[in-house]
């Protein structure tokens, strides 16, 4: 005990003031980003300072929020998606907040009637393909999931492992929605026979094997419907046409919705509510696309030009209720693993 005090005394000067009065802390995942200007505008308006804590990927960050629920690390949590939603709600770590700004948000994204989790952005997980490759090989690009198992498309596709990757899980859910619970495994059996490649994460799939992005040799990959716009935005010299395209036909994508929530145990409830309002409001919403390459949840948010030209929203994505996902995901993943990997 004495040792603890001694050690603590030694380190305390190095510990950042964890609980300054006019500071609000947002816990989130690695991929979160926002522009300086937007943050500053909130900070000046409310005479506060926003502190961000990033705690690994979306799953790891949420789990840490749950583990620390008796002594929360933050006032807000951003980045729970609909595949993890049930875990978050079951752990009972969020306070309901019916923000008045919710009327500016698309209704199809509001999944929690108690408003513990409020939608901020969404992205459609779907197939992307390398346009040049298909032109060179004079092959028609895939238009639906069923195309992937045709012999012309043998050894062309990369998917991510649903057990270790969130786009991977989203794509598995797409197939469950598209082929039904009785048919999806059949599809995956044929995918295996057609030499589908499975990687454990999006980075390895996209940077490691996708022909449009690296030295890979496969022209079809599971990514986001907004990925082509990132390819344009982050090109060395912006091209007129994106080098890749997204397949967003009927029921060929899964919509991942990201939510924000106020953590129970916050002592700054008012400021936290103000920040939630701010995140649903125009300024923040308009900043989202170029920061995270997903779509804002706001109904009439203005999109940047590169999004208007090169990013698409799926008209009819697969929808599976989040509690059904929670109840069956382990079973689906296990059956998938048996079918595709073993």
């Amino acid at each position: 005990m004495i040792a603890c005090v001694v050690f603590g005394g030694f380190f305390n000067p190095l510990v950042m003031a964890a609980d300054a009065v006019n500071e609000i802390t947002v816990m989130t995942h690695d991929s979160f980003s926002i522009s300086k200007e937007v943050v500053t505008s909130f900070e000046t308006l409310h005479n506060t300072k926003i502190r961000f804590l990033k705690a690994g990927d979306a799953g790891a960050a949420l789990n840490q929020a749950i583990l620390s629920k008796n002594n929360p690390l933050a006032d807000l949590f951003f980045g729970v998606d609909n595949t993890f939603m049930s875990r978050a709600l079951k752990a009972d770590i969020f306070k309901p907040y019916a923000s008045p700004l919710l009327n500016q948000i698309r209704d199809d994204l509001k999944l929690d009637p108690q408003n513990r989790l409020l939608p901020v952005d969404f992205g459609d997980v779907c197939l992307n393909y390398d346009k040049k490759w298909f032109v060179q090989k004079k092959l028609r690009p895939p238009a639906s999931l069923a195309d992937l198992v045709k012999s012309d498309y043998k050894s062309l596709t990369i998917v991510e492992n649903p057990a270790t990757s969130s786009p991977g899980l989203a794509f598995l859910l797409t197939t469950v929605g598209y082929f039904g619970e009785n048919g999806y495994l059949d599809f995956w059996k044929k995918m295996r026979a057609n030499d589908v490649m499975v990687t454990n994460g999006w980075k390895e799939a996209y940077w490691g094997s996708f022909s449009a992005a690296s030295k890979g040799n496969r022209p079809i990959v599971v990514s986001y419907a907004s990925s082509p716009s990132a390819e344009v935005y982050y090109a060395k010299t912006p091209p007129d046409q994106a080098p890749t395209a997204a397949v967003i036909g009927d029921q060929t994508s899964f919509r991942q919705i990201e939510f924000v929530g106020i953590l129970k145990g916050t002592s700054k409830i008012e400021l936290a509510q103000k920040l939630v309002d701010f995140m649903l409001d125009r300024k923040f919403q308009e900043d989202i696309p170029l920061q995270m390459f997903v779509f804002p949840a706001g109904k009439s948010t203005r999109l940047p030009e590169v999004f208007i030209k090169h990013a698409r929203i799926a008209a009819n994505p697969v929808t599976i209720p989040y509690d059904e996902i929670a109840a069956k995901r382990e079973k689906w993943i296990e059956s998938w693993t048996e079918t595709v990997l073993r």
Binding site: G8, L73, T199, V232, K236
Partner: protein
């Protein structure tokens, strides 16, 4: 000799390292284990029966074990000749080559994967050459998602561990014994197997052990290069803890990993006691010889060529890609590192990332040496009873999954005086946990090789224990301390698994910055990741060269 007199300072030696481990390792670990197994104060095994009822976990354990064994043997076989060359020869560029062999150690797995892809992938350089030369229709080398790729990467990462630890030890072996054997008519091979090899055992075992534990808890390599058909215990722990949130299972697997490492270490410690040999320390300078004969040239040339091929080529491929664009060589990716087109609040200019990384690595180095040197000094004398358990315990942090410990930090270090959850100090503290075992293992073989009569002579002549340590131990182990320091520095520069949990977003390390670039599509992101990786390699190399200078300036010759 009065026993009491000798005993007390020894206890003091061990107090601080033990206290450090107790607070930053055992306390968080016990917290997370008890929360996992007993969420509401009572035993809740969850779905633990699956551990034995499904063959999956037994298979996973078996695979984890044998891939680590195979990787260790391969690394030893490939690196021992290199260690010989570094221990016995003096040649141009030796320091440079040595520091460059350590660079792989700091590279994030996803970057290494890209490097190998650029070199050996289906559209990689080598496959394209082979296809052109032999007019093949398909790429002849298909490494992706094979066991070979895992082994290759493990050798790539760990070559330097064997090279440095065994090489450092070897350079101090006296030549008189081997010379005597040769005078008596033994062939060079006989001399090697009968004399040199047994003398080297302590260092070989120490290095082999580190490599084994490193490969046993392999995560990124298995996940990225091995692909979804391979799984180690570490990978399963992450999956259970993060994706499934089955904490009892994650905790049970962590515990299995820890217990296994402990048993392994225990056997090792017992063996170690039998293999340690006293040797007279020798000035390394006298044992070095120049490359003169044809045989020398083949040996030195062959080994440096192997290092170039195995370690140099993938790294060169990375550097090459960081400079290459459609219109030939360009600095466009490096220039982009300084720009923040989206005005993101998390943008970090490259110099700042370098400063954070080097700063954390510097603190880690000091902490790890400060804790590791007394710990190793304590362990160096033969231990009985409780003392014999300490050596295995000191190695445990190396094989503990980062996610388990990271979660432990969150729930354990949350109240004053240890309210460290969001502290900047958490990064070097976490790094020190991983670096500390490297320091201990680097120093121990050298300390143990000091003949006891040297210390006794000094004591008889009236030197205090501290004076004995200063006059006898330190000059002999200086080189080994440096090896340990280099490892601590390196471990910190490259650490990713724990850093991702404890680093604050505005002060990321270089590996974190690299991961950020790779998180979004687009050629500029890819190029900047390669540029940042090249900077990381350069910073590492410069750091090593400076560390080597410290030895020459500060401690003189030994």
């Amino acid at each position: 000799m009065k026993k009491n007199n000798k005993y007390r300072p020894r206890i003091l030696l061990i107090t601080i390292p033990l206290l450090f481990l107790a607070i930053f390792y055992f306390y968080p670990l016990i917290k997370i284990f008890s929360l996992s197994f007993m969420p509401e104060g009572e035993w809740r095994p969850g779905k633990l029966h699956k551990l034995v009822s499904s063959g999956f976990y037994i298979q996973t354990f078996w695979f984890t074990f044998w891939q680590a064994s195979l990787s260790t043997i391969l690394t030893l076989l490939l690196a021992l000749p290199g260690a010989y060359v570094f221990a016995r020869y003096r040649f141009f560029g030796k320091n440079l080559i040595q520091s460059f062999t350590t660079i792989p150690f700091v590279l994030p797995t996803v970057v290494v994967a890209t490097a190998f892809q650029a070199l050996l992938g289906p559209n990689g350089l080598i496959n394209i050459w082979l296809m052109q030369w032999f007019e093949l229709p398909d790429a002849p080398i298909q490494l992706n998602h094979t066991l070979w790729f895992i082994l290759l990467a493990h050798v790539f990462y760990n070559y330097t561990v064997v090279l440095r630890i065994v090489g450092g030890f070897w350079s101090r072996l006296e030549c008189t014994l081997t010379e005597a054997a040769q005078v008596l008519g033994a062939s060079p091979w006989q001399t090697f197997f009968k004399i040199t090899l047994p003398l080297l055992y302590p260092a070989i075992f120490a290095a082999g052990l580190l490599v084994f534990i490193f490969c046993f808890s392999s995560f990124g390599i298995i996940l990225i290069l091995g692909g979804p058909r391979f799984s180690t215990i570490e990978v399963e722990i992450y999956r259970q803890a993060v994706h499934i949130f089955n904490l009892p299972m994650a905790a049970a697997l962590s515990l299995i990993q820890i217990v296994f490492t402990f048993l392994l270490m225990w056997v090792y410690t017992a063996l170690q006691r039998k293999t340690g040999v006293d040797i007279m320390p020798e000035s390394s300078a006298s044992a070095l010889r120049n490359v003169t004969t044809c045989r020398d040239r083949v040996i030195v040339g062959g080994n440096t060529a192997l290092m170039m091929l195995l370690l140099g080529m993938p790294m060169l491929a990375l550097v090459f890609r960081s400079f290459s664009s459609d219109s030939g060589l360009s600095l466009v990716f490096y220039r982009a590192l300084f720009e923040n087109p989206t005005q993101s609040i998390f943008f970090v200019p490259p110099m700042e990332a370098v400063i954070y990384s080097v700063g954390f690595a510097g603190v880690t180095l000091v902490l790890a040496v400060f804790l590791g040197l007394p710990a190793a000094s304590f362990l160096a004398s033969p231990q009985k009873g409780l003392g014999a358990l300490l050596d295995p315990i000191f190695m445990l942090p190396l094989s503990t999954s980062a996610v388990t410990l990271g979660f432990g930090f969150i729930i354990a270090l949350d109240r004053p005086p240890l309210n460290l959850r969001t502290s900047l100090m958490l990064v070097p503290l976490a790094h020190t946990l991983v670096a500390f075992p490297f320091v201990v293992r680097s120093i121990l073989p050298a300390l143990r090789s000091i003949p006891r009569n040297l210390r006794e002579a000094a004591t008889l002549l009236g030197a205090s224990p501290l004076k004995v340590w200063q006059a006898v131990d330190l000059p002999i182990v200086g080189r080994a301390v440096l090896v340990g320091a280099v490892f601590a520095f390196t471990v910190s520069l490259g650490e990713f698994g724990a850093t991702v949990f404890v680093a604050r977003p505005q002060t990321p390390t270089m590996p974190l910055a690299i991961y950020r670039f790779l998180g979004q599509p687009g050629a500029m992101n890819y190029g900047q990741a390669m540029a940042m990786s090249s900077i990381l390699m350069m910073v590492t190399a410069v750091g090593f060269l400076l560390l080597e200078k410290v030895r020459i300036g500060g401690m003189g010759e030994f």
